[in-house]
């Protein structure tokens, strides 16, 4: 679609998601480029959360959710026959809107993902440290690793969740409105973190905050009522979009 030098990490083809009879996503065709930050924007109920959750098949756990179409990760359709969901989720990490650390210590929160995925026991301590550093949280918690994660501030908890997701070395990081519950300073830290992380990971971020999308992302996708209205380089979407509806949303005529 855009520059040919950029590799497509994951793309969807005619992807539709139904909740019972309600069609939440309508034939989405979109590409996500490797080591780039792709933002999904749109008003409430437009399907952006549903879309991001279909990347790691988290919609599977919703009782009457149904998916049609394809979602292709490195050439393999993750909704194909006989695909191991657990293996897919291992490669795709997720950070949720409201931070959800386990009621365990800071250390154990991160060690959990390592243990269940079979990382060697003697490497766990180092990997915990590494991912906390990668999430810019190490300095703040290095003396408090055994304290309960629930004692951290909201921003710290969210960075802990990021560290937890990164510890198992995913290829893609999905962030569903990661900063919406945080104060501006914590938000800024998260945004700086995203900038650093994209060197190693492919990042998809859902955000309600358009300024944030403009700040952190390389590509932006505008969703409305379950459809992908427009997708392109962030600079273009925010300065010179092709579709009128995109322009109206960006300039705040509705939303």
């Amino acid at each position: 679609m855009e520059e040919k030098s950029e590799k497509v990490k994951i793309y969807s083809r005619d992807l539709s998601v139904y909740y019972g009879n309600f069609r939440a996503l309508k034939d989405i065709n979109m590409e996500v480029y490797q080591n780039q930050v792709t933002a999904l924007i749109g008003p409430s109920g437009c399907g952006k959360s549903t879309y991001i959750r279909s990347f790691n098949r988290m919609n599977d756990i919703i009782p009457n959710a149904r998916v049609e179409g394809e979602l292709v990760l490195d050439g393999e359709n993750i909704y194909g026959e006989g695909v191991d969901v657990v293996a897919v989720r291992r490669r795709i990490g997720m950070v949720f809107q409201k931070s959800n650390p386990f009621p365990k210590s800071v250390f154990d929160n991160i060690a959990y993902g390592l243990k269940i995925n079979g990382f060697p026991r003697n490497e766990i301590a180092d990997r915990v440290e590494g991912s906390l550093k990668g999430a810019a949280l190490w300095d703040e918690v290095k003396d408090r690793l055994q304290d309960s994660a629930l004692m951290l501030s909201g921003g710290q908890q969210q960075r802990l969740c990021i560290a937890r997701a990164l510890a198992i070395q995913p290829e893609i990081l999905l962030m569903d409105e990661p900063a919406s519950a945080l104060d501006p300073i914590a938000t800024q830290k998260i945004e700086e973190l995203i900038e650093q992380l994209k060197e190693q990971y492919t990042i998809v971020i859902v955000t309600h905050n358009m300024q944030q999308a403009a700040r952190v992302s390389d590509y932006t996708a505008f969703f409305y009522l379950g459809e992908l209205i427009e997708f392109g380089r962030t600079t273009k979407i925010f300065t010179n979009p092709d579709k009128k509806m995109t322009d109206e949303y960006i300039t705040g005529r509705f939303g």
Partner: protein
């Protein structure tokens, strides 16, 4: 015309508030009061019979002297047996209902079964235990038959308490675990169950108290008037505390004379149940603190 906030109205509302508040307080006082009365009654009438001999000896002289040691041990065996059956089965059922089952006919039938089981009178359980375990399975009047019967009696309580505990674990924990690449079972075993533990334990320990005090189910299936030796296998009958009270007070040969012993037995039973319940509360509070 609206006069909602006249001084009169405000005054009347305040009075209603005070009346309601006081009535609630009185209810609480009545409750504690009744408990205290029962306790005091049994303590006063029974404390005289309590001594080391009472707790460690067999009854003798047609139960007018001696102790209730075999009853204590018998109740102990029966209760442990009931928990061994009901706890794994109950928790497994609760896990199925809360984590695996999809809403549908089967689940509704199971839930209906559980609540109906909870309402079956204990004497009916006794009859059920008698005809199935004692007679048909040929276990005879035994610890095994009694434990099985008591186990089914407390099963619905454990299922309900466990299911509630499991459902109260925030969904966000499960999501976080699954998103990290855990399987459903790993999530249940390592995240959900440990967090539901305090509720499950509380339900279980309260059931212990219930099982220890039930008379009707064990009358038909495990308890006997007298044993001369401690049981050497689970196919042996036992004496039990609640049954012993009944026996002494109605069927024994020295009803009046053994009255203090009856109250003594009742006191031991109540202390046992209260002790176990207090343990449950302490444990639950400890576990809750750890998870905050």
């Amino acid at each position: 015309m609206q006069h909602n906030n006249t001084k009169q109205n405000m005054g009347w509302r305040k009075i209603k508030e005070i009346i309601a508040h006081t009535l609630m307080r009185i209810t609480g006082v009545i409750l504690v009061g009744v408990l205290m009365i029962i306790l005091l009654f049994v303590i006063i009438k029974g404390i005289g019979a309590i001594n080391w001999e009472f707790l460690s000896q067999f009854p003798r002289d047609e139960m007018t002297k001696g102790g209730i040691f075999p009853c204590i041990v018998g109740t102990f065996y029966l209760t442990i047996g009931a928990i061994i059956l009901a706890l794994p089965l109950g928790v497994a059922t609760a896990i199925y209902l809360s984590e695996y089952a999809r809403e549908g006919r089967l689940v509704r039938i199971i839930r209906l079964g559980v609540s109906n089981l909870a309402g079956v009178p204990s004497v009916v359980f006794g009859l059920f235990g008698l005809s199935l375990f004692v007679v048909t399975f040929k276990f005879g009047v035994s610890i095994l038959a009694g434990s099985l019967t008591l186990g089914f009696l407390i099963l619905p309580v454990i299922i309900r308490a466990s299911e509630e505990a499991l459902l109260s674990v925030p969904h966000s924990y499960r999501e976080a675990s699954l998103a990290l690449g855990a399987t459903k079972w790993q999530t249940i075993y390592k995240i959900v169950l440990p967090n539901a533990l305090s509720g499950i334990l509380t339900g279980s320990i309260l059931s212990i108290g219930r099982a220890a005090g039930e008379t009707a189910p064990i009358m038909f299936t495990a308890a006997v008037f007298m044993t001369f030796r401690m049981p050497d296998s689970i196919l042996r009958p036992v004496m039990a505390l609640p049954y012993h009270i009944y026996v002494l007070a109605t069927a024994g040969t020295h009803i009046e004379e053994t009255r203090p012993l009856q109250y003594g037995t009742a006191l031991v039973l109540i202390m046992l149940v209260l002790g176990v319940n207090s343990l449950a509360i302490i444990l639950r509070n400890r576990l809750r603190k750890r998870n905050r």
